[in-house]
Symmetry: C2
Subunit: 241 residues, 2 copies
């Protein structure tokens, strides 16, 4: 059996069910590249009382090591947040099914719903987009297209920040594209930065882009561009100014 | 201190952090009306080793009992899924802040991300809508408007089913509105029903509306109307036919 287990947003966010399952496993892998952990691998090893094997991109996407391991014994793949949020893990699930390996998904908290702490109503969020680090010759703006689509239907946009990118770089990309597209509505809009949501250091900041660009933010963080605000949303956001 | 603690989707979905917190609490309330639990209150009491007070709508929305309790001692409000997904709990959070009661949110798994088990990519979901039971003189179609908005930007739609409504009734509302609006695309589209996702009885069914209307479904369930499918999404969904 292969257990795909969510770790949630903080060290002790794994569920009781998840901990029960991991205790049964002979091999425990940790997805070490699709998102950043707000705790160390050693802390996690002490918590679950198991030695952890760090699974790099290649091990999850190309090699069959995890699936082969789960054929011989109970194995776990631990994933920050709720599993299957990343396409990579859905692909792994599909490959496991093809190889007739039973898979059990154990859910946990996710940034996609933890953002409700901002006061924004979850059902008003539209599509989610990721901001990737720009290369010299590849400066993807697709996240901005998603943002504009969402605003068209009055939906909030959650922007995830890829590993290797700082919040300030991500904010500067938004500004650069908004200026290029002459999109004043974004330049004048108050937007949100959520740092380490779900941990004791969780912090929400609500301000205009130019003001946010002068601040320093820690990781993991995400950015939210709100659509029109309901008065209750506005009232709560005010407290984060 | 008031702890607002998510219970996730199944009996043992509460996080280790959530269990630690509830153990410290002198008063433990359970939100008993915003969503359906796939386990009994007695099972939950045995798990957390605390007597539970069921909080009905009035206690959460109108009375100050929970906030007053948290002024005197550590108190917990347990909420199925991830807390703050319902506006009611956001309002409670705001009232607590006004009364200077410290609040700590402890997250858990949510149907909003557990639907990734369908193979649909989470970042392609648009706004979420709820289907409420129709009354003789009030037959709200707003969920269908959300669905049409989402399809305009090629986003999947998660339709939650309010308490008191069966899956078949919800499906029949979709059919009735689609026929009234002459919306053939929905009548011919394959859609998804997710039953008890996140539990051992979790089941996903993928079929046309008319076929689904002939089946029986258990609760809690939700319905998903997918937008255009990526080939990987289509491949996984095929396995649920």
């Amino acid at each position: 059996m292969l257990y795909i287990i969510g770790l949630g947003l903080d060290l002790k966010d794994i569920s009781l069910k998840g901990l029960d399952a991991v205790k049964k496993c002979k091999a425990v892998y940790l997805d070490g590249y699709t998102s950043q952990l707000p705790f160390s691998v050693e802390e996690l090893e002490r918590l679950i009382r198991k030695k952890i094997i760090i699974a790099e991109r290649k091990m999850i996407e190309e090699s069959n090591e995890i699936i082969e391991s789960a054929k011989k014994q109970d194995a776990a793949l631990l994933i920050p947040g709720d599993p299957l949020a990343a396409t990579t893990h859905v692909e792994l699930l599909l490959r496991a099914k093809k190889e007739k390996v039973s898979v059990k998904i154990i859910h946990a908290s996710s940034i996609l719903t933890a953002v409700a702490e901002t006061g924004l109503q979850l059902y008003k969020f539209g599509k989610t987009a990721s901001i990737a680090k720009w290369q010299k010759s590849f400066r993807p703006e697709s996240f901005y297209d998603v943002l504009q689509e969402n605003l068209k239907i009055n939906a909030h946009t959650l922007l995830l920040i890829d590993i290797g990118l700082s919040v300030n770089e991500a904010l500067s990309y938004i500004k650069e594209i908004a200026e290029k597209r002459k999109d004043k509505s974004i330049l004048n809009k108050e937007i949100i930065v959520c740092e380490k949501l779900g941990t004791n250091d969780g912090k929400i900041t609500f301000d205009k882009l130019d003001k946010l660009l002068k601040k320093k933010f820690s990781l993991p963080s995400c950015i939210i561009v709100p659509a029109e605000l309901h008065f209750l949303e506005a009232e709560i956001l005010k407290s984060f100014k």
